[in-house]
Amino acid sequence: MPNNSSISMSPIISARQLVKHYPGVIAVDGVDLSIPQGICFGLLGPNGAGKTTTIEILEGIHLPTSGTVLYKGELLGSRYREEVGIQFQHTALQEFLTVRETLVLFERLYHRTIPIPELIELCSLADILNRDTRKLSGGQRQRLLLALALINDPDLIFLDEPTTGLDPQARRNFWDLVKLVKSRNKTIVLTTHYMEEAYALCDEIAIMDKGRIVSQGTPAQLLSQHFGDVIVQIPREDSGSKLHELGLGVVDAGDMLEIRTNRLHQTLQQLMENGVNLDRLRIRAWTLEDLFINVTGKTLKS
């Protein structure tokens, strides 16, 4: 869960009225962002929402059609390249080089660097140092790419869907790595398709849709803003015939029937009084996935 102890409220990077037009498409349509130093900021959105374009403008890879990006209060310049670390969603590396040689290559491109042995330790690369980068597994490759993003000891790190395609174990290992990086008071900007990833890592999230930010805040704030209730789930075969007649707003959800309520005690009392079997009842809190569907009308992977 988010740790706010080291968060500074001064923005490390901010964007004002970012707009990006492509022929026939408005990819980013007036985005305002302010990301405080030391947090992990999640940018979420369905495919085509404009989050990759937004993040690449923030990274300085693309220029906006209009709007400005400020890093530590200054327009992006050569200093930014030295102090930012980026892990792209799709990246190739120089072929025929080992992991160690790739680290050395990127180390030489910066003035300020983390010592390579420290980086190897941090990203658990010791076992694969002499392996050709083309022969790495998905998880190993992502660890190397993260190491490259960290090699200049950046103050600000962009991670663009870093765990896409990884198996659950590799994904959780990567989360641990990101948490370790975050504990060094680094600012992380993360895009992801996985809500549990955003929930596990992000102190603050912004949800984009159709080129705009439609919701922004801490996960807890957003959930409380959008959902003041909980969901009671009852297996369909335990519900009896009366459940639909109780006026509780029952919704079919596959094998379960769901009731949304902000008065849990009274709802449970009413169910018991009407002979509903509560032995297998479950109470579910709203998730970021629910929030996402609520604000965009789409599932995250749609």
Partner: protein, 383 residues
Amino acid sequence: MKKFLAILHARNMEFLRDRSALVWNLAMPFLLVIGLAFTFSGGNKEIYKVGVVGGIETLARVAPALQSTQHIKFVAYDELQTAIGKVEHHQLDMLVEVRDAPGWHGGDAVLPNPPPASEKLMAGHPGEGTKERSHLGTLGTNASLRDKQLKYWVNSSSPNGYLLERIMWGTEGHQFQRQQVEGKEIRYVDWFLPGILGMNMMFSCLFGVGFVIVRYRKNGFLKRLKATPLGAIHFLFAQLISRLMLIMLVTVIVYVGSNLFIEFNMQGSYWDLLLVTTLGAMCMISIGLLIAARTASEEFAGGILNMLTWPMMLLSGAWFSLEGTHAWVQNLAQIFPLTHMISATRAIMNEGATLAQVMPHVWVLALMSVFFLALGALIFKWE
């Protein structure tokens, strides 16, 4: 400098560890040189080649029988010294000079008896006499024609020249004053070696640089580099120097390796040769960088590269001489850097040309390199 060296080292490692590409880069030119050397080692050309200074039409008026002889190819030259040089190196079997003179009438000439075969064989013996020597006493009665208007040159050690001379004396040979030159034969393998090496450099530089950068752009490696403090100029120079080092290394290996089997002719300075080939390679690499400056499609880049390499391959003189082709073809060939590189290397290797003598080619290659590199750097995009 640290960034430049890092990219340079990485690119060199990539090239040297890509064994299939490395073997191909070494094997292809080596096999071509060896294969063509064996193929043409007999040297028995079916067509005799005669240079003509003064116009082939004039020759047709002066010596119609000679000019209409089958299996002789007549090639026009403007400069006498250039053509004589080719006779010296056996690139021409004979040279004739025909000049119209006021009051000349070809029909007035009296056919003399040809010189005895033994005399001409003696005259054609290598190492005998001066470099350019008149053969007197066997010519016709028209003195003005003999001394000033009609001459022919043969190499004393050329069998083809000897045979052509016999043919000539069967036609209008009495009208021509005989001149003799000497010089070592330039074998076909000596002639085409610069072409083969030049072509290999062209393919390696254009495709090796152009395709690689397009691939980097397509797979996102350039985008990753863009996210670092590396400047485009560092990256481009590293690509240029890497390919230059590697292609020069490959070329030297191929040259030295082939030279073990076939002792190549080398009349000039190796340093001059190195300068010209380095500039030629730089020029090709610069063109490769220019083509790859913005292209993200390997198919498109391949089309452009083929469009460039085929005319260069055909018109630069790599495979065959453009002598005797239309003037516009020869002029067109001058726009290709490969033409200048091959011409200069041939001149250095086969004719012993000095740097000053090939300086026009050197200037063209240097200016083209600067122009293409600057333009490529100007329009370069990481993505």
